[in-house]
Amino acid sequence: MAVPLAYNLRNLSARKVSTVLTALGIGLVSWVFIFTLALAGGFQSALQATGSHANAIVIRSGSTAELTSIVAREAAASIESQPEIARALDGAPLATHELVVLWNLERKNGTQANVVVRGVTARSIALRPKLHLVQGRMFRPGLEEVVVGKLAEARIAHCTMGDRIKLAGRQWSIVGVFDAQGTAFDSEIWGDVELFMPVFDRPVYQSVTFRLDEPSHFGAIQKRLEADPRMSVQVKHEDEFYAAQSATLATLLRGLGLFVTLVMALGAVFGALNTMYAAVGSRTKEIGTLLALGFSRGSILTSFLIESVLLATLGGLLGLLMALPVNGITTSTMNFASFSEIAFRFQVTPTMLLSGMIFAAIMGALGGFFPSRKAARRVIVEALREA
């Protein structure tokens, strides 16, 4: 017969302080686990989700980011006339050529940031299905107007609707805010590419982006463009291009997070071991009595193991509750590949929460196993004799 669950529950509530302390400790470990997953996940998803697989981006061969890329006007024209490019409703190719510079701007909190300033065309928004204007309107070509991503609006000084921001010695009015659903574009400032070129003294574009008419045509156009001797370019799927940029830092964040959490978990398991050994130690007489009454050793082991896992799961629950408010918090860092500011949100997914709970339960099982086994192995007569 199994030891009643009530026995374990009563014991946990009888040692309230001890239970709370241990649960809180395990909860914190679980919280750190979820926290680092949310950080790395938020960062990576901001970058990864930035591109679309149906789009292709053309940059100079050898460059890893738009910033170091050069695509001349003639080359851009030639690229945009390729047959594999989808057509917009008005018959024109669904393609855009863009200019990218980094501009040193002040964040609202006073620190410096390298913000991506992108010169775009009328087609640029259409090419990015995740991007929508949510406030104001698009800038008018030829005028000193810009639109900003919602995270840029939130974090960079002078980026709110109606405000004016100084770029290249001129004042630009913020006439609209767009939402790119947490992707890299959310941290950018967009303006008219034809106006930006002379203003920033850049006679060339950085990239050409277009929508494929058929996904299967990617290979053909990539081969043709990359072999073209008049331009030295490389063609990539837009999403893969952005994902590659995030790879290093995301891996580092994940690696660091995993390292920290695992080592911390080890410490917590040690703590749980201590707690459970002490618990078993103080209940020796009870165990002897239970054994004498006829409960099997297996049931004693199971009982203590369950108690430990219950305790740890309580901790996991606490960790989960503490992790929920983290979701959505915005932070930013430098995208090392493009040297630019990228703001992103902590992303706490249900999977992460579940992982946190399971992680906690595992810590409880590990921390409880040896003490439970010791409990089950007590010699009845000795146990009963102990005070």
Binding site: N114, G271, E341
Partner: protein, 382 residues
């Protein structure tokens, strides 16, 4: 003192418990030191900054270059005693993942302006006299196994194509904070290989000033000089320049501090619990000691002392391990942390934290023991 024997014997009461407690504290402090080192290694560049060097760059951003023609006018600014210049090359070795810094530097002035770059005799000459020569840091040499005379192919990203350099020198840093993961080559070699429209463009100028207090005035003068030209400058101390980079990395510091604190706090909770449980087993003994005449205050100090002893032991273990592990390794986290080593201040901070943990976790059981009423405690037993 004489009570050390008592404290020690008590810790040996349950060797397993003492071991587990010490190790969980050691783990917490190990993590703390590691995380703190991530922060301090970012700041290594700050510590290596020379107070007599200024950085001049394009006011808008590092992305835009300055004309080589500025050199003449910069060297004539009062207070400037030396000038060098260079461009960030930004290439990679074989795989884009192999990132490390490469700079094209004006070799005649480079070593003069950067005394912290130390080259063995003869290598400086070899570097100077050969156009395609490069010098690499000792850590970089170790990492890729490069030796003098090796030819290193670098794939350019800003300046496309494959570039080849011959190693003519391996430098070491004057202090431990100087980055030894950089490759320096000839600016002239880069410049002559560029197309007409891109020649004679400098990424950064470095100015040496006669004394650190001239920094503000010289910076102001330089920026005023080019204020209205098409390429305005921003001049600042090297330290400020590096700090700007670090601040761009954003909230990482805050995040790491949060995680570090959570760790320490979590382990402390668990330690408090352990100490309290251990204390509960000793009520009779405490009562006996009080009967023998041990005062409440003495008991408080003894129990508290045990907690402190455990924590310092664990703390010393954790911090020491961190210092050792990261001292000998050339761990750079994929190039992100060129100088990952645990500073003595970090170890000290860790020990202080451990002591604090010990005191806090010992408070409850110590006070409990001190307050124990002898008569009632003894009555419970017999």
């Amino acid at each position: 003192m004489k009570y050390l024997g008592l404290i020690f014997a008590n810790l040996m009461r349950s060797k397993r418990r003492t071991f587990l407690t010490v190790f969980s504290i050691a783990i917490a402090l190990f993590l703390f030191c590691t995380l703190r080192t991530v922060i301090t290694s970012f700041e290594a560049s700050l510590r290596a900054s020379q107070a007599t060097r200024l950085v001049v760059r394009h006011a808008a951003s590092l992305v835009f270059p300055l004309p080589l023609a500025y050199r003449e006018r910069l060297s004539r600014v009062p207070g400037v005693t030396g000038i060098s210049y260079g461009n960030w090359f930004g290439g990679f070795y074989q795989d884009p993942k192999n990132q490390f810094a490469q700079f094209a530097m004006d070799v005649p002035t480079f070593l003069d302006l950067f005394p912290e770059v130390i080259l063995p005799a003869g290598q400086a000459e070899a570097f100077r006299s050969e156009r395609t020569a490069c010098i690499i840091g000792a850590a970089l040499a170790r990492k890729y196994g490069w030796k003098l005379g090796d030819q290193i192919p670098i794939m350019g990203t800003i300046f496309p194509g494959e570039w080849r350099f011959v190693v003519r020198g391996i430098y070491t840093g004057q202090t431990k904070d100087v980055d030894e993961n950089t490759l320096f080559f000839h600016w002239d070699y880069l410049n002559e290989s560029l197309p007409e429209g891109r020649k004679s463009l400098v990424g950064i100028y470095w100015l040496r000033i006669a004394s650190p207090d001239l920094a503000a005035s010289v910076s102001g003068r330089v920026d005023a000089l080019f204020e209205n030209s098409p390429q305005p400058t921003k001049t600042e101390t090297e330290k400020a320049f590096q700090a700007g980079f670090i601040s761009m990395i954003g909230n990482v510091q805050l995040l790491l501090t949060i995680i570090g604190s959570a760790i320490v706090f979590a382990i402390m909770l668990v330690t408090i619990n352990t100490m309290m449980m251990a204390a509960r087993e000793r009520t009779t003994e405490i009562a006996v000691l009080k009967t023998l005449g041990f005062s409440d205050g003495l008991i408080l100090r003894l129990v508290g002392g045990e907690a402190l002893f455990l924590s310092l032991l664990g703390g010393g273990l954790g911090c020491g391990l961190a210092a050792l592990v990261f001292r000998e390794s050339d761990f750079t986290g994929g190039g992100f942390f060129p100088n990952f080593r645990v500073l003595p201040e970090t170890v000290l901070l860790g020990l202080v934290l451990a002591a604090l943990m010990g005191l806090l976790s010992g408070v409850a059981p110590a006070v409990q023991a001190a307050r124990l009423q002898v008569a009632s405690a003894l009555r419970r037993v017999a």
